[in-house]
Amino acid sequence: MYLWKCWRDTRSFFLVFLIGAAIVMPVAALVCKGTGLVEEFGANAFQSTFGLILVAVALGLAAIGAIHEFGDKTAHFLFTKPRSRAYFVWVSWSVGLGELLAIAAVNFLAGWLTLLRFSKNPLHSPVFGPVTSQQLVEGLIMAIYTYSLAYSLTAILRSGLKGLGAAMGIVFGLPFLAIAVRWRWHINLPIPTSPIGNLSLVASDLTWTFVALLFVFIAQIVIERGEV
């Protein structure tokens, strides 16, 4: 029943984004009908929007989900139930994750089906080459990473606004920081969720996923030790 509660808390937000994710590609294709843009750039547009939409959804779900559970107002009600705080942290995180994956699936399906109407090779753009599965996976992992980061920060800072702001700052600021560091000290910082150093793509993907889980684990520790 806690699962159900988390679902209820995030339901409206989820549905709005689900619908949005489902229609963005078909609508764009409709708007660009006849221009030939879809055939040339469709696949890549799809790939970028796939990633962007997911990051936006990730941020939103994280803030809303976490603040419902760990905000000052409901913590007294939740944490006096006979379940460990770790349970609450992970269960509500997984509900949001499930919703994120559902939106990702819908978005992908909608995009793929839309592009299918225009070419037999939907994920292949004549201009930019194929959209690889790695690129899509990276987008997905980026979303999971962002979601977990925002979720943890919201839970730790106990504020949706602060958590969101901090997460956005980190997610969007890190690439710039990496550039600055590379320029100044010639060190290549790993950027989420691009491949790390010399690791294989799979290894990099797994590492970033692990980092995402680590964020949640840290949030768990902080909340377990915290006072209400």
Partner: protein, 311 residues
């Protein structure tokens, strides 16, 4: 099976440089209704939070239902129902949904209690929580707590912001339910009249310190105010004399036990006793708080005035 539902031993909580709870001792007998009295900021909520594992004590120990609060948080939470000072719940859920939500956590849940109290307290079960009036919101909390089938109910200021009719309803329901099921009810309040209506035991705190803990009936039977006129009457306080007020040659004593005897002694020593009367809980509380504030150091070595010696 321990005979105390809650046992607190020199419990202390420091927040930064604020001493919220100061070596507090409490003994709450099983099956009783215990009123935990104190002003706002006296340390009631901090104490309760520690009992439920929401915050950790700085020092001291406590046992709830015979179990240590630090070692047995889960078993305690399974058998204890709690109504927080903050009457906030997930805003968009309805009372019915909240019942559905809470139910799964407790194997001792009582479905029939839900129906009974929803009807008795006239709670609109299908309205979103945020749309309920303050009174109804508090009643929802009470419903969830009563339906839990717990052995111990801990309520933090349950009657805040309730109108007198709702307060009366709440107190009646608590008293009746506790008697029916033998549950222990521990509730904090700064409304003395409410405590007087149903509590068997009272514990008074001020500045995080226990002022007094006793059976309510004993407090009322024992405490007396005596006014007398005379010269050179005793002016010292001791374990029997809580306070002395002198104006010209009029004396006002607040006595903690055997008031009639003390009055008799005064008369025999030449004083004219003008008035011997019992005190309401409010007056006793004010006296104790006044006296506590006169002590300059945190602990002047005074032990609480009465302890529950008779049972």
């Amino acid at each position: 099976m321990s005979e105390l539902a809650i046992s607190v031993n020199r419990l202390t909580k420091v927040y930064g440089d604020v001493l919220a709870v100061n070596r507090l001792d409490l003994s709450v007998p099983r099956g009783s209704i215990y009123g935990f009295l104190g002003r706002n900021g006296a340390g009631k909520t901090s104490t309760i939070k520690m009992l439920l594992g929401l915050t950790r004590p700085t020092s001291g120990s406590a046992h709830v239902l015979g179990m240590d609060i630090l070692a047995s948080r889960m078993p305690i939470l399974r058998r204890t129902a709690f109504v927080s000072e903050k009457k906030t719940l997930p805003p968009s859920l309805t009372p019915s949904e909240l019942v559905r939500f809470s139910r799964g956590f407790y194997p001792t849940w009582l479905d029939q209690a839900v129906e009974k109290y929803a009807r008795l307290l006239e709670i609109p079960m299908n309205q979103r929580f945020e749309r309920l009036s303050n009174g109804n919101q508090t009643k929802v909390f009470l419903l969830l707590a009563l339906a839990q089938g717990a052995e111990l109910l801990i309520l933090d200021e349950p009657t805040t912001a309730l109108d007198p009719v709702s307060v009366d309803q709440l107190l009646r329901v608590l008293a009746a339910d506790a008697a029916d099921r033998g549950t222990t009810v521990f509730f904090s309040s700064h409304q003395l009249e409410e405590v007087e209506q149903i509590a068997e035991y009272v514990g008074m705190v001020e500045g995080g310190r226990l002022l007094m803990e006793s059976r309510l009936d004993d407090v009322k039977n024992d405490f007396r105010v005596i006014t007398a006129a005379g010269s050179n009457l005793p002016r010292e306080t001791n374990s029997q004399v809580l306070s002395v007020e002198v104006k010209d040659n009029f004396y006002r004593y607040v006595i903690t036990k055997d008031g009639e005897g003390y009055a008799g002694d005064l008369a025999q020593n030449g004083a004219t006793v003008t008035h011997v009367a019992p005190l309401s809980l409010r007056e006793i509380f004010l006296e104790l708080v006044r006296k506590e504030k006169l002590c300059t150091s945190g602990n002047a070595g005074e032990t609480p005035v009465l302890s529950s010696s008779s049972s």
